[in-house]
Assembly symmetry: C2
Homo-oligomer: 365 residues x 2
């Protein structure tokens, strides 16, 4: 006689085991480690499960095994294009795996991050993806004490908690400035918003490059803690140019700001790049189709997410990567907005259409 069904009418592992003529524990093993079964039992359990339409109860599994199949992801923003690309990578890489993604938004607050981390860790996640390297001391301690693999994403730095994948925002900013130098620009402004740690490091890279060239001037830097936007880019640029009308280039901490600067230039009839060059950061899609097209520093956001999730899953399953720190690099994509200064004051608009994209400076470590 058969066992009695569960109240909810759902198929349990026991039913599958019974149909397959094996013990429940053998059926259980089939789902966790099929190689441990003989081929005969394996196929019997498989067909029994399929026939009954068995779906494992994750709560029971988590309770019995004392661990979940959840990957926690802590990111600072849900709106920022940058993170939506990273997230897409994470979701894509986790799809098809047994792990599910649990997302939380720190809103750029490391205190909030600490709180969420505590919450996550209490549920014993299988793995954790956290943004950046600027955790609180408390968070850092929790991460180090956590008994699950952890990937820090978005940037690289010394002392990884575990694994790390990103690139140097400092070097990327320096490369952008080097490109502007190469194009003959000297008085280069910096426009930044939000000023999270990564933007701050871009500012540091800019400042270092300028200082080395003997060109640094505090008054060329305009920043705000306000969240970034296109409109804000225009406003910050207005501030900058009011203070320093003689600038010949602007390095923007992200592409939204760069687009705002471009619009503001257009509003003021300032020719770009002939009077002012513009360089953005991230290389969002629209940078390639604006008029003029906008130079930017391409970052590998999708790869960052997908690689992080893939590395994490490997590590969860015991296969730790050979190199725990991965530098994904960046590429300066040179476009019209930062072309070399020309003698002619104002080219015809049609001229831009003919211009081709230059070679790019890639940093692939």
């Amino acid at each position: 006689m058969g066992r009695k069904r569960t109240k909810s009418g759902k198929i349990r592992l026991a039913e599958v085991a019974e149909l397959a003529g094996v013990s429940p524990i053998t059926a259980s093993r089939f789902f966790r480690n099929p190689e441990a079964l003989s081929v005969a039992k394996r196929t019997r359990v498989e067909s029994a499960a399929r026939e009954l339409g068995y779906v494992p109860n994750l709560a029971a599994r988590a309770l019995a095994s004392q661990r979940t199949e959840v990957i926690g992801v802590l990111i600072p923003s849900l709106t920022n294009n940058v993170f939506s690309d990273v997230l897409r990578g994470i979701y894509d890489a986790s799809e098809g795996s047994r792990y599910s993604i649990q997302l939380s938004n720190t809103r750029y607050s490391i205190l909030q991050e600490e709180k969420l981390l505590r919450l996550f860790l209490a549920q014993k996640p299988a793995g954790l993806i956290v943004t950046g390297i600027d955790q609180t001391t408390e968070s850092r301690a929790m991460l180090e004490a956590a008994d699950c693999p952890i990937v820090q994403i978005m940037e690289i730095g010394p002392n990884p908690v575990d694994m790390m994948i990103g690139f140097s925002h400092y070097d990327a900013a320096r490369a952008a400035i080097a490109h502007l130098f190469a194009q003959g620009h000297r008085r280069i402004g910096f426009v930044g918003a939000r000023m999270d740690p990564r933007v701050q490091r871009r500012l540091d890279g800019y400042a270092a490059a300028m200082k080395e060239a003997g060109l640094f001037d505090q008054r060329l830097t305009v920043t705000t803690a306000t969240p970034t936007s296109v409109t804000l880019g225009g406003a910050l640029f207005a501030d900058l140019i009011a203070r320093e009308p003689a600038i010949d280039a602007v390095f923007c901490a992200n592409d939204d700001l760069a687009l705002g600067v471009l619009f503001e230039c257009r509003r003021r009839e300032i020719p770009v790049p002939d009077q002012i060059a513009i360089v953005g950061f991230n290389d969002l899609e629209f940078m390639a189709s604006s008029v003029p097209t906008l130079t930017s520093v391409r970052t590998n956001r999708y790869e960052m997410g997908s690689t992080a999730a893939a590395m994490l899953i490997e590590a969860i399953e015991g296969k730790r990567p050979e190199k725990p720190v991965l530098d994904l690099g960046f590429t300066v994509i040179e476009r019209q907005s930062s072309q070399a200064q020309r003698p002619t004051a104002s080219p015809r608009a049609g001229e831009w259409v003919a211009a081709v994209q230059n070679d790019s400076v890639t940093n692939d470590p």
Copy 2:
């Protein structure tokens, strides 16, 4: 003498109950329905839990109670700005509640949606948020059979599965066209990408408005199944104007396309709005700061997400909303790009700066 601790060293409900001097079940009730306890026991359990730093084991809770505290969310895209705003609303509204969000990406495939739905439902979610009203028959049946509250978001239509929150894309498109008519435009093109059901309904609204005015012409419509982008907007507009050079306005199915059209006009030195007016859809932030500023149909995306999550949580807890279908409406934000046609062929750029934003046409049902 105390009970023995759990192997993992974690605090269990039993420990809390013991310290509080109550039975475990009373302690359990404290977390689920504190009102059912006497004030004395309530405070004792509360302080005991705090003192021990008790964190409930969700897996055990889910197993024992036969239900999870997970809200499943099915959206078609993670990259689209539209959905990131909706998501932010959902996450914000769920924060602080006991429910956690489980996100999945259908990639605009209703078959994928069906698959994910099956997966979700098998885990007995507390509630479900699904995008749109175009599920497969199978999906529809599963949704109707599900024993949890469900909210359909992004648009409204007949026969809600349960609750519904959105707006009429058809009406919104008609309002946009009505605005263009009011500004004196007649030969209005339509540019659309991806052509998911909501974009299709915008096209239907456009077509209906044009037909009623006796102005519909199939050749004014350019669409593609390709995912949307700014660059694509330029390309589609190039197609459109090659086919129909005499158009005087373009209604774009979203703002990215509109921006692409604007750039393409600039590239071709077509004055906007004097030769061609542009209207977008969604009113993303950059629309207000482009040059010229771009008219768009504002949609309440954040509110859609936050209200959907709030309604769902209320419904899960037994308080069903008085009205299960909520129309969040839309607003035509009139900006420079669709101003009335003028006699002067090409205004000075500076003129735009002075222009003020017009009154707007709001649809608040």
